[in-house]
């Protein structure tokens, strides 16, 4: 890791999420998908958000991009990006904010390319629409972009179906960084890909990040991948952050039982075959309290050790 480890308050954060609460409002009852979540991402920092399906991590990403649709409602909290209040932006401001300031690569984004337009047409569109370049200049820049992700510029003339999944995903990542955003949100960018391709794409994102210096919000359920890529990370459970610290600290000394379970869910590739427990079916943590600092920069939601252990044991069989 050559990029400096940013910690709380050392820089002016690029993104600052404070006490965010998102509810899905139903007729009779509403569900709180994100409950009083706060975190910030510094300049040039890769921040990971880990958790299982349904824990609210994608909802957070969508809140930052202001992509939430009914019945989702931001019930409380604030999101500020470079000092600007994201939640107060009007349509025009949002249009500039998205893609130019913050770009997002969605899960299986490779399937979101338009099948009837060539890659070149779709990439040139970004420059003609958002930056106002003429068509020829746009195409030239599109070719540069492909080179940035080490694809042959001749691919501009290809249609999406002519590319493999990995190449499509690269094209999508190239498109995301086209306007030099200061924050890139990656929502499970490689889940649909094979390991070999996944590793190459992650290496490429790392290179791009070093080259262009943007911050990254990286969302995944794969803890190993996240620890490898992120500087700092947070673990979410049931709409709450249960632990946040430098990625390496969480890897070496996970504090919360849920983090430990999540870490234990990935068998190692070396060493003896040790029985792992994972998280037994039916275990639920409820009423997760606010984070408390257990070591410098390492925050864990307090838990009743005995009670949690009893729950884990009880559900094991």
């Amino acid at each position: 890791m050559t990029v400096s480890q940013t910690s709380f308050g050392s820089h002016e954060p690029v993104l600052d999420v404070k006490n965010l609460t998102v509810k899905y409002v139903g007729d009779s009852r509403s569900t709180t998908a994100v409950n009083d979540v706060s975190f910030s991402i510094g300049a040039g920092e890769v921040f990971g958000l880990a958790g299982e399906s349904g824990c609210g991590k994608s909802t957070i990403a969508n809140s930052i991009m202001r992509l939430l649709k009914d019945p989702a409602k931001i019930a409380a909290g604030s999101i500020s990006f470079g000092g600007k209040d994201v939640l107060a932006m009007n349509q025009d401001e949002l249009r500039r904010f998205r893609w130019q300031d913050v770009a997002m690569v969605f899960q299986s984004a490779m399937n979101s390319l338009n099948p009837v337009l060539t890659i070149g047409e779709q990439m040139a569109d970004i420059f003609t629409t958002h930056a106002g370049y003429p068509r020829k200049e746009s195409l030239r820049r599109a070719a540069q972009l492909l080179e940035l992700v080490r694809m042959d510029p001749a691919r501009l003339k290809s249609y999406p179906h002519q590319l493999s999944g990995g190449m499509r995903q690269r094209a999508v990542i190239a498109m995301a960084v086209a306007l030099k955003p200061s924050l890139l949100i990656l929502d499970e960018p490689t889940t649909a890909l094979d390991v070999v391709v996944q590793q190459e794409i992650m290496a490429q994102i790392k290179d791009l990040q070093r080259e262009l210096g943007f911050s990254v919000l990286f969302i995944t359920h794969d803890m190993s991948l996240m620890v490898e890529l992120s500087h700092r990370m947070a673990v979410m459970y049931g709409g709450r952050i249960v632990e946040t610290a430098k990625a390496h600290d969480i890897y070496t000394a996970p504090g919360h039982p849920y983090t430990q379970a999540l870490m234990g869910a990935f068998p190692p590739l070396t060493g003896p075959r040790i029985p792992l427990k994972g998280l037994p079916d039916g275990v639920k943590f409820r009423n997760i309290p606010d984070l408390a600092e257990i070591a410098p920069g390492h925050f864990v939601a307090p838990f009743d050790a005995d009670a949690e252990a009893a729950v884990l044991e009880g559900a094991a069989q």
């Binding site: 190993s224 075959r273 029985p275």
Partner: protein
């Protein structure tokens, strides 16, 4: 699970008739229009043996043919060539047109998607009872047998780690992990010798995956059921399986004791796969130059690391096998000189251009 290190397979596995044996299995798919004579060879000359009470993992990337192999073995697809032996009997000869009930009671499948494999309109009891009835393991209308069936149902649920009162639940009331356990219980009801599990954990939440793997291991340990575990996740293959076979472009390129195979991968394709698994313990290990060399070695190898193998001479025509390391590990690798057919390389290998190309 009190022991510190998980026990390996029983030592006597090789002396008995294997539970499942695949010999020279091949499968081609016809492509193109009605008059086209083109075909894609999805599998070619696959030999695989699963001993009694042994768990064998089949790993490879998507498109490598591992699911096609599973579908052929489960008789959901008709193989183009080769033989499938269950308990030493060639089932393709015995039941020529479709799988017989006898075959189904010997071999059961667990599929990837527990959300799609359980009919949402029925209670859990229905799935298990149906398995029992069809295969005559209970559920007949004789007097007194209802009680027996009921006991068997509850026993099945306990075996897979579910509460017996969940028999009255509908699938939508269960979590993904619980549903996969029901799918396993349904396979168990038949009392099979072999279970074929095609990516049984890939749709589950990460924290419950281990639980399902532990359950599969427990079934092997307690009931001696052999398993073919198909996955793209090398770490879970290492965790669960006694032996691992690596598939590339429809052929098995390396096979051996799981720990040994992943610690000392001999084939460049296996090395490629192993080096790509994210592991924080060796972060920053990505090396594009080494990667390009491995690709080159897979697709157009110039030499074989086992050139001086006294047992087996190298051959670029025949898929000869070289012994790797200690014979006890039964670890072999296909000769590096043998080249995959043109265009057969997994798309990850064939179409991704390397930097500087």
């Amino acid at each position: 699970m009190s022991h510190a290190v998980l026990s390996p397979a029983r030592p006597d596995v090789s002396s008995l008739t294997p539970a499942l044996e695949v010999r020279g299995l091949g499968k081609s798919f016809h492509i193109g229009g009605l008059f086209s004579s083109q075909a894609v060879r999805a599998l070619h000359g696959v030999d695989l043996t699963i001993g009694r009470g042994e768990i064998v993992a089949l790993v490879g990337e998507s498109g490598s043919g591992k699911s096609t192999l599973a579908r052929c073995v489960a008789r959901l697809e008709k193989p183009s060539e080769g033989a499938i032996l269950v308990d030493g009997v060639d089932v393709l000869k015995r039941d020529r047109f479709q799988a017989s009930r006898e075959f189904r009671s010997q071999l059961q499948m667990v599929f990837q998607d527990p959300f799609g494999s359980l009919n949402p309109a029925h209670r859990i009891e229905h799935f298990l009872r149906r398995s029992l009835t069809i295969h005559g393991k209970g559920g007949t209308r004789q007097r007194g047998s209802e009680e027996q069936t009921r006991r068997r149902l509850e026993e099945l649920m306990t075996t897979v780690g579910l509460q017996a009162d969940m028999l009255d639940s509908y699938p939508h009331e269960l979590s993904g992990g619980q549903r996969q356990r029901v799918a396993i219980a349904r396979a168990l009801a038949v009392e099979p010798n072999v279970i074929l599990a095609d990516e049984p954990t890939s749709m589950l939440d990460v924290s419950v995956r281990i639980g399902v793997l532990n359950l599969m291991r427990k079934l092997r340990d307690e009931q001696g059921i052999s398993m073919l575990y198909i996955t793209h996740d090398l770490a879970s293959a290492r965790y669960l399986a006694d032996r691992t076979a690596v598939m590339f472009a429809g052929e098995i390129v390396e096979e051996g004791e799981s720990l040994d195979l992943l610690a000392n991968p001999a084939h460049p394709y296996t090395q490629l796969l192993v080096s790509a698994v994210p592991d924080p313990a060796r972060a920053g290990s990505y090396d594009p130059i080494h990667r390009a060399q491995l690709r080159q070695a897979v697709m157009a190898s110039a030499g074989c690391a086992f050139e001086n193998d006294p047992e087996q001479r190298c051959s670029s025509k025949e898929p000869v096998r070289h012994q790797v390391g200690d014979p006890l590990n039964r670890h072999w690798v296909r000769c590096h000189l043998y080249r995959p057919r043109a265009g057969a390389g997994g798309h990850a290998l064939a179409t991704e251009p390397e930097p500087g190309d």
